[in-house]
Amino acid sequence: MSDPLMISVVALWVLVLALGVCVLALSRQIGILYERVAPMGALMMDNGPKVGEPAPVVEVADWNGRVLTVGGPMAKSTLVFFLSPTCPVCKKLLPIIRSVQAREGRWLNVVLASDGDRTEHAEFHAKHRLGEFTYVLSQPLGMTYRIAKLPYCVLLDAGGTVRAKGLVNSREQVESLLSAYEHGVASVQEHIDRRVIDAVPERG
């Protein structure tokens, strides 16, 4: 291994590999900057109505054309699940949303919200048997909550206040939004932060 050429080749390989890893890390960090979402939990975005604030009142029409008000005082709390027919994770979460509605129906209304052409949604609505849900197509609703990524959940209490919101990718994250509401924290991230803060022993 004392051949200078061989040493040079080995050194170059190590450097090329290190540069490759740097390029990968930088492209990932650029992606994270674009997303502006931390990498774990049902994270709260900084945009749109804040948790604890009254939700803006948005009038929308449901699938059958009835006018519905999202926001403002209501008989029950409302879970708005923003989805799209082209989002595989949304489809995967539908059975979970269905079970949440069945289990929490006493105090919770589930509203499925999307936007776009009705004909595009008709097939999705029929195929996934979404007749049991309130299904609304409204661009203003998505704009109000500044929905950038799907699937996204917003939980409003009966008084019309935003109680929890976040990007959801799994059953755990949907459940965590509901438990965040029950425990009075804004998002799962805040819940984790609180636990971390609680766990840090005080110095003195």
Binding site: M6, V9, V10, W13, V16, L17, G20, V21, V23, L24, S27, R28, I30, G31, Y34, E35, S84, T86, C87, P88, V89, K91, K92, K127, A148
Partner: protein, 181 residues
């Protein structure tokens, strides 16, 4: 008789084959880990009747896995090359049909979290297919030494880092477009 002009040094061929194996095996495992999600991704392409979607999804993921494993062993490399080309060809055809329909907002289902279909994805598959075809060429007959094994590992690791970076940049593209719009 001199060396065949169409033969390629085994260091290059083995490095490329190892890279492709890892790419295909990881892609297949990501799909197999969450078949429900992959089934919905296949469904979004709107190319198959509902009844055929689950069978196709399983067939595609298992073929990808078989191609990846096959490329690792010289005995099975011939068949694996054709299987890998078929898998890449099918995926690219699906993407191209949907791009021509104008439905470019669907996720590709590549197993790399939320990456949307794009012309860049077809180009990426084209490069992978060219590398697969390279694996079908003959090896120059020579014995590999210690430094050669080191070079094979270097080629494979650097190509994998490049592949992961290319995927990340492709996934960033729609977000960048949204920021500009």
């Amino acid at each position: 008789m001199g060396p065949d002009p169409f033969s390629i040094d085994p260091v290059v061929l083995r490095g490329v084959a190892a890279t492709l194996s890892v790419v295909l095996i990881l892609g297949a495992l990501a799909k197999l880990r969450d078949m429900e999600l992959f089934r919905y991704a296949v469904d979004n392409y709107r190319l198959l009747p509902d009844a055929l979607v689950p069978g196709f999804a399983w067939g595609f993921a298992l073929s990808e896995l078989a191609a990846g494993v096959g490329l690792l062993f010289p005995a099975s490399q011939g068949g694996a090359v054709w299987l890998a080309l078929a898998v890449l060809g099918m995926a690219s055809t699906g993407v191209l049909i949907n791009l021509s329909r104008g439905t470019d907002r669907i996720e590709c289902g590549c197993g790399t979290g939320g990456q949307r279909i794009s012309a860049g994805l077809v180009a990426r598959n084209g490069v992978l297919a060219a590398l697969v075809a390279l694996c079908a060429t003959d090896e120059l007959p020579r014995t590999l030494g210690l430094i050669d094994h080191f070079s094979v590992a270097g080629i494979a690791l650097v190509l994998l880092a490049l592949y992961a970076s290319a995927n990340q940049l492709l996934a960033n593209q729609p977000l960048l477009k949204e920021i500009h719009s």
